[in-house]
């Protein structure tokens, strides 16, 4: 385990060290202390290493992640795991806006609450939120799964494409072209697997499923009211 104190080591030095690792490296376990809310901590990782951060981080933590497992023992600012390609990002506290924005793959787990626009424009990432999500979550979500164990704020899944949303709690409102769909046995099993992978204890039978009504894919004047 390599420990880096971010009160002493500059952020660029740290990220430079992480980016310079080779595929054969033995330096596979990292602990970061005193993050002090700095931005872009452990962003742009490309190797299957483990990075654990003790404390609260700023914006874009673990952004663009590939293969790495990044755990934040604290609160995250905007855009944690934004554009994640693969690997796992886990937040043990709450996350601010736009968690996992535009994520292409991998998994982002928020054990607490995520704020507004969680999973905005997601493109294949799986997001599991132990608490609730704020308004406009899964806005224009194209692919992947958003699992919300608590409640969802207004305008959930506005202009959604083929992503799938599961919510256990209350939904304060659906966005344009987002509708409730049947929770088939197949979806229950998929959800069970997502929860297991995320290590979040929740009963898949309690969830409802939401997705696209597919009315907005091509412009149709009869659907103008739905835009």
């Amino acid at each position: 385990m390599i420990t880096v104190d971010l009160a002493e080591t500059g952020l660029r030095d740290l990220n430079g060290r992480l980016h310079a690792l080779s595929a054969e490296t033995n330096e596979r376990a990292w602990k970061l202390v005193n993050p002090l809310g700095q931005h872009a901590i452990a962003a742009g990782l490309t190797l299957p290493i483990e990075v654990e951060i003790d404390g609260h981080v700023g914006y874009y933590c673990a952004g663009m992640n590939k293969q790495a497992t990044v755990t934040v023992n604290g609160h995250c600012g905007w855009g944690v795991g934004e554009n994640i390609m693969s690997g796992l990002v886990r937040v043990r506290g709450n996350a601010s806006e736009s968690a996992a924005a535009s994520g292409h793959g991998g998994m982002v787990v928020i054990e607490g609450d995520a704020s507004s626009r969680c999973g905005i424009s997601m493109k294949g990432v799986d997001i599991v939120v132990g608490g609730s999500v704020g308004h406009m979550s899964a806005f224009m979500a194209q692919a992947g799964n958003l699992v919300v164990c608590g409640d969802a704020g207004p305008d959930l899944g506005d202009s959604i494409y083929e992503a799938v949303i599961y919510v256990a709690g209350a939904v304060s409102g659906l966005g344009a072209d987002c509708v409730e769909k049947d929770m088939t046995p197949e979806h229950v099993e998929r959800l069970r697997a997502l929860l297991a992978k995320a290590e979040i204890d929740a009963d898949p039978a309690r969830f409802r499923r939401f997705g696209s009504a597919r009315r907005l894919y091509n412009f149709n004047v009869d659907h103008a009211d739905a835009y």
Binding site: G77, N94, S96, E97, S115
Partner: protein, 302 residues
């Protein structure tokens, strides 16, 4: 881009260190606002029947003591003057209204930055660390404080357009964002007899909240009313004599983070400003929800 910060101490035992913690918070927002900074600190209240005013004149050599002497003679009241850079804090054994009226009549060149019994307001150009040092922020005791750091993108760096904006006794507002209906609101408030010092949208918000409270609204009610009447992007933090409030618009594009422990509540545009507060590792930290009024009161803590 700008940065805003606010610190509200629930535990009176921390009050001697308010300025020290708050200076660190303000400096933490330097990258969001390196051009100028403004602060309002609720500090060392004036006694019963007395008032406290923070005044500004661009000339650092302005004869504040002479003005204080004239004021004392005219009102037949004791006046204490503390001169800090191009600001002065006057403690007057008379009401703020009488003092302001005398200043307006005899020294219109002096600008009143803040008035009331407790609040002191300082605004100056330069990086937040420089401004904090110039006014001795780190040494100030008190119950709560709000601040603003500015990155000038659309207009000149002047103290007139700097936050915090004050619109009533011991009341101030900092704002990150922009209002789209401020002209109409300014007219609306103008018809109700309110006067404006600048063309700034944030001043309109400050006067709007002050107007609501002057009509009898509580801090919570004024903020709730603002949600209906103010259009645009905003994260507000407001201080009153014994209260502290945070409000974001219903879309919530401007950043904000809140942290709370048994001892204090703090808000900032970014967590960086909160990172050095005592006990922050165990604090409850969350992003204030859009369109939700958050308030705290000193009642019962003093």
């Amino acid at each position: 881009m700008c940065g805003i910060v606010g610190l509200f101490l629930k535990n009176p035992a921390l009050r001697p260190k308010l300025g020290g913690h708050f200076a660190t918070m303000l400096i933490g927002m330097s990258e969001r606002g390196p051009d100028s900074a403004g602060i309002a600190v609720y500090h060392d209240p004036a006694g019963p029947g007395a008032s406290k005013l923070t005044l500004f004149h661009a000339d650092g050599g302005y004869p504040w003591r002479e003005v204080g002497g004239q004021l004392s003679e005219a009102l037949d009241a004791e006046v204490d003057v503390i001169h800090k850079a191009n600001h002065a804090v006057l403690r007057v054994e008379a009401s703020a209204e009488i003092t302001r009226a005398w200043l307006a009549a005899h020294h219109p060149e002096v600008r009143v930055m803040g008035y009331g019994t407790t609040m002191e307001v300082y605004k100056d150009m330069g990086p937040p660390a420089e401004v904090a040092a110039k006014y001795g922020l780190a040494e100030m005791a008190g119950s709560h404080a709000v601040g603003h750091t500015r990155m000038a993108t659309e207009s000149a760096v002047t103290t007139e357009h700097s936050h915090p904006f004050t619109a009533a006794a011991d009341m101030c507002l900092v704002h990150n964002g922009s209002l789209s209906n401020h002209n109409r609101l300014r007219d609306w408030l103008g018809r109700r007899g309110l006067e404006f010092e600048t063309d700034n949208d944030s001043e309109v918000a400050a006067r709007y909240f002050a107007y609501r409270m002057s009509e009898g609204a509580s801090l919570d009610e004024a903020m709730e009313a603002g949600l209906k009447d103010l259009d645009g992007f905003y994260t507000f933090t407001m201080g009153t004599n014994d209260g502290f409030a945070v409000l974001r618009d219903p879309i919530a594009c401007k950043p904000a983070v809140l942290a709370e422990t048994d001892d204090w509540v703090a808000m900032a545009s970014e967590f960086r400003s909160l990172a050095h507060l005592p006990g922050v590792a165990e604090a409850t930290i969350w992003e204030p929800a859009p369109g939700v009024v958050y308030t705290w009161s000193l009642e019962g803590t003093a």
